[in-house]
Symmetry: C2
Subunit: 332 residues, 2 copies
């Protein structure tokens, strides 16, 4: 199905809940952009829950958050239950003048709904010719290295670095996999690799059903755990948001979202490097000797861009049930 | 051997090369602190090379770098061939007033010698009640995920977050292991795990000798590669430093150090969180269910602090050859 058609349905579903046209456009764009990049877990399958949250008053259809300038280069934002992308893009606007004046600026956000795919904001920063670092926290889904209880969020990190041509875009969860992927294995009855998760009893498991009530491993063992924990602490320290075990409101339709988000923007023009040098180095990486001659070395963001171009041409494959649900929501 | 005795030898070795007393104290302190934390690869074994660099004019015994304020919250620093810790701590001083005024501040450094153990600077930031992020680049030692050529530095990341009690201190290389560890295996004739490295021909190897002329894997597969590459690009973009394949001057005594370093400081008082909340959460992590009942869950920094306390009490175990070399250098 063409992306434009799905976008229209998603926008209408939001408009039907009293979301302003600009906010509906932005929220729908985030979901469609995730679909285009082959990330359906962050795509329109999130919409029914979002509509339920709007209906329950847990998401505000109009709010874009209230920013407070605590220092010339730091803003704290009360998201006022606004839609995630609405609050984040408003925070980015808010930093835009500070970052050009100060060279670096930071916004710490709480009380905003789910931010979705962080690459979206990293790309928005790169489009403004800015280095961007985006961090967000979540429900407790990940166990510490050496532990078995779900104590940390999946705590993703996105980074954008302008290079003159296509920007460097990194977007990674600090968990070994997403809970969405484990649910997908459960749906299709496929076992999961043993290093992905533990069951509720804290034992390594290959059963996706058992993993759903257990905890996901951090990526990269102790190092990935340290990074995920760093995100957990940094966001809570600056946003005053809850820690993972108390976080709710991103996967349910019953709780206010109390996780936090941090956006750091840096103006590369305040530094000494050249964007052209970065692009040339990335091309050398791509041309370097691959482990498998049939698979050239890739740079993060390459695959995403290729999938997006393909999906814009060929359309997005939407499961029938989801399509019908969207259609019904779009009709109000 | 008591840490104080080794410190004295290290200081004297530097003083003998015309290093100022304050600079000698700082450089020796960095090396001793690495020894105390059980990181001999970043300890006094670095000193003979540093002395050779001072003798060759590749390291300046007096310089502390020249900072330029490009924006109120961004400084670029020409390290003027100064000793790594001297230039970095000078940059931290330089940011100290900016970070309290602006809330966040950044320094991008080039032309400085090896920074050594980054945890040192993270701890210094935490001691000032600041969140610190420290990045540095290095010679090409790491291959891209899916690649086999050494194209990236080990590109470590250190993060400090004050918690009211002991700060959160993270310090990790984005490589699977350090080249130092591979050299240690070569010295002791112990094979290395297959996932650590490739040989010069790009084949996975368990032979540490073969790995020395090959490349180390990034940690955490594609994600760790993405982070290491993010550090490579971010540092080069801001410091104007060289990319890994052209970097020299941290492992040799023949090249000027042309890698780069970035320091970001954030004043948590500009945010909305509470340090006490962070400490309580870390204690809950430590008390959470371990995978092995005999090994409680740890928080990054815990092991380092325990090793340091032990070494302060029991002394540092220095190989005889290194001790004799230090003694000779200390006598000028």
């Amino acid at each position: 199905m063409p992306a434009g058609k799905i976008r229209k349905m998603a926008e209408n579903a939001l408009l039907a809940q009293g979301v302003t046209p600009a906010n509906a456009h932005l929220q729908a764009d985030l979901l469609i952009e995730a679909e285009l990049r082959g990330l359906p877990s962050h795509g329109v399958q999130r919409l029914p829950r979002l509509v339920a949250r709007l209906r329950a008053g847990l998401a505000d259809p109009v709010a874009s958050g209230v920013a407070r300038e605590t220092r010339p280069a730091v803003f704290t934002v009360d998201g006022a239950r606004g839609l995630g992308p609405v609050v984040m893009m408003q925070a980015m606007e808010c930093l835009a003048s500070a970052v050009f004046t100060q060279g670096i600026a930071l916004a710490a956000i709480r009380n905003a709904n789910h931010m979705g795919m962080l690459a979206y904001y990293a790309e928005a920063a790169a489009a403004r010719n800015l280095i961007g670092i985006v961090l967000t926290t979540s429900e407790a889904l990940v166990h510490p290295f050496g532990g078995t209880d779900a104590m940390l969020g999946t705590n993703p990190i996105a980074i954008s670095i302008p290079t003159g041509t296509e920007p460097y875009i990194l977007d990674l969860a600090t968990s070994q996999v997403s809970m969405g992927k484990i649910h997908h294995h459960a749906l299709t009855g496929t076992p999961i690799p043993e290093e992905w998760a533990v069951d509720a009893g804290g034992r390594r498991t290959t059963d996706p059903e058992a993993a759903k009530s257990g905890a996901i491993a951090p990526f990269g063992e102790a190092k990935g755990y340290g990074l995920g924990l760093g995100v957990e602490l940094l966001v809570a320290a600056l946003a005053g948001s809850a820690f993972a075990p108390e976080v709710g409101g991103t996967l349910d339709a019953t709780e206010v979202a109390n996780k936090g988000d941090v956006l750091i923007l840096i103006d590369p023009a305040s530094g000494e490097g050249s964007a052209a040098g970065l692009a040339a180095y990335l091309d050398r990486l791509r041309a370097s000797r691959p482990a498998d001659p049939a698979r050239p070395v890739a740079v993060p963001g390459d695959g995403m861009r290729a999938r997006r171009a393909r999906a814009l041409r060929d359309g997005i494959d939407l499961p029938d049930a989801l399509h019908d649900e969207l259609k019904a929501l779009a009709e109000g």
